[in-house]
Symmetry: C2
Subunit: 408 residues, 2 copies
């Protein structure tokens, strides 16, 4: 018959299995980071190439494509290794469904590249297609952070997700700035959009800082080359913060070069974050394995010391030993509960994004908007009212009950 | 190579596996409900037997024991069937660790019964031992509710958990009232404690009502025999709400009989709740299976309609078909996200209990209190300040940062 000790050890083994699954997910997230960086570069170069009617950046774009393809192959290889037949994966349903969206979008990538090479796609359409794919990849990272069962690992994943999301806003800023400079003019709406992207980055990097280890924060500090920062800020001031009107279109290349250097530096920080995550998983797994071994040894020792088998064939423990086992099961139960509480607290930081997603869904359902239109509508409201995106999302959701057909 | 469709179907299969695991957990929760009821009766009868120095309820208690043993065997049989080797169970670590605590406590039950039969245990000690075991069993139900991956099933489990917890407070009220009547006197502290147990029941039954289906609520209404309610209220008024002082000790048996009838009626509602939960799991599993079949058929039809295999051997889909698959993966992703949001909202209702548990843990760590003492201290603060238990718990937790060695 299964005893309390059986379940005590089984609980510990579940913890180890969860951590091992997290380590695999962490590896996937690392590969996604590399792929995202390559795609961000390809998006930026495609944008410049199409914006210049194919006169510039043709060679750079052509050279970037195989890099993206290589990074994609690495992500696909890890996805291939995911056990889609074992249907017991923690949060498998949501993670797999995010992966399905990404794989579907990837099927369209070769066609998109052909249209870009033939200049048969507009810069705007190409931007939108790349950005959608990138959003899908980030959603996979988000699911991973939201489903982690270990608070420490979850903190590291939340930090990584927010860093990646902040970097993606930086990538969008790079593309926006490049096309605005290239167009030779900027209006109030363009400036608003630029400011929005800067604020969005700051929001993400703040969460990243809140959830990061000192070691990671030091790497982040070290990555910030003051010359790069100063140049980016100078060009931001010229483009985004000046009076609306004419811009020196020659600055487009300069802006692209400096903001690319900034993004490459961010990619370096991402590597440190990924390595930290990997190390954390390994440490936690080793620790849990040691604890399992110790616990098993202790339980066996206690069973040996039990004075005699009872009438039912079981070896009853003396009161002293019974208290030792009791302390063990209670301690483990309390520890797991404390971990669960901490996990809830970490996951709460992901609420903002969920609110925005929910508000988007509401607009899509009630106003027959596409996902893109819904996001733009929210962002426009935020800019017009000078409020944060999440506050606007909350306001929209609070109207849900009075909208016709509003779901509970 | 695994395609988006592979992951789309794998996500659906994960959902089905999660639901099947939930159905098994639901079965365990049902058996726990029956065992809890038997133990509550045994606790009440043991209390009366010991309180009367063995003069009364000896036969009733003796007859109750085999009923408890039978119900325990059913719970153990289901635990035996739990796959402790498959370490991939969702939330396995916490559920298994709660089960370990229960099984350990059950090992002490035969000894406790012997001491009660020999009148070698005090009524207070016996009460405490039974109540601890019951708290452990309810903690298993709580974990099940907290780990459910389907919002509808989670709602049903939250309703069931709160009903069971409310019924347990009613069981404690039955025991408290019986011993106060039997003692022939009541003081202010006894009255306070009585009121606290009534308030705690109301809190639980309110959450139960908030999360229950109309069908379950009708069963609950129908179970309330007006005569029983009136008698319980009359005796509550005499005992708990009157002026402190002498009580008619003959009322002890009467109180026990009426509050037992009330608890038996609650047990009936619990059965309806359990049946509802079982039905819900079956419906959701059948529904998910149908959807999986439809989805698979649709994807196969789309693949057949694809005009010709491309250069890479893959059958590229026409733009029309591609949009159909895209709609499918996006719809599934959105649906799972909406389910996740709803799940978060349901789980939020479990926060109160977690706050109380955390405050208890804090007192245990900083004041070297036992779990029992910590709970009593919180309850005493709540009664003294006339505040809800959860508010006191929050106040205690907000002090955590200023306590020496307070954990983050």
């Amino acid at each position: 018959m299964k005893s309390g000790s059986t379940f005590l050890l089984a609980a510990r083994q579940c913890e180890i299995a969860d951590l091992e699954e997290l380590a695999r997910t962490g590896e996937l997230v690392g590969a996604i980071g590399r792929f995202v960086h390559a795609l961000q570069n390809e998006r930026g170069l495609s944008n410049l190439f199409l914006g210049s009617q194919g006169r510039r950046f043709a060679e750079e774009r052509r050279r970037q494509v195989p890099e993206s393809v290589r990074a994609e192959a690495q992500v696909r290889a890890l996805l291939e290794g995911l056990d889609t037949d074992s249907v017991q994966a923690r949060n498998g349903a949501r993670l797999f469904s995010r992966v399905a969206v990404v794989l579907h979008a990837l099927d369209g990538l070769p066609g998109l590249r052909e249209r870009i090479a033939d200049q048969a796609a507009s810069a705007g359409d190409a931007m939108a297609a790349f950005s959608k794919l990138l959003a899908g990849l980030l959603a996979v990272v988000f699911e991973a952070a939201d489903s982690a069962s270990d608070p420490e690992v979850s903190r590291a994943l939340v930090a990584l997700f927010n860093f990646m999301q902040g970097k993606e806003f930086a990538g969008q800023e790079r593309a926006l700035g490049a096309s605005l400079f290239a167009s030779g003019t900027i209006d109030l709406a363009g400036q608003q959009q630029w400011r929005h992207l800067i604020d969005a980055q700051q929001g993400c990097f703040q969460v990243f800082a809140d959830f990061s280890d000192p070691e990671v924060l030091r790497a982040d500090q070290a990555s910030r080359d003051p010359v790069v920062i100063a140049e980016v800020e100078r060009l931001r001031r010229i483009g985004g913060a000046g009076r609306p009107g004419a811009l020196d279109s020659d600055l487009s290349t300069e802006w692209h070069a400096w903001s690319s250097r900034r993004m490459d530096a961010m990619r370096g920080v991402e590597e440190v974050l990924s390595a930290h995550l990997r190390h954390l998983c390994e440490t936690r797994i080793a620790q849990a394995r040691t604890e399992l071994r110790d616990q098993r040894a202790l339980l066996e020792a206690l069973a040996r010391e039990a004075p005699y088998p009872g009438a039912d064939g079981k070896a009853p423990l003396g009161p002293q030993l019974e208290r030792s086992v009791l302390a063990l099961v209670q301690e483990q139960s309390r520890r797991l509960q404390a971990m669960g509480d901490e996990l809830d607290a970490v996951r709460a930081s992901l609420t903002e994004r969920k609110l925005v997603e929910r508000a988007k869904g509401l607009l899509m359902a009630h106003r027959q908007m596409s996902e893109d239109e819904a996001y733009k509508a929210l962002r426009q409201m935020a800019m017009n009212q000078n409020r944060r995106l999440v506050d606007v999302a909350e306001a929209v959701l609070s109207l849900a009950d009075v909208l016709p057909g509003g779901s509970r």
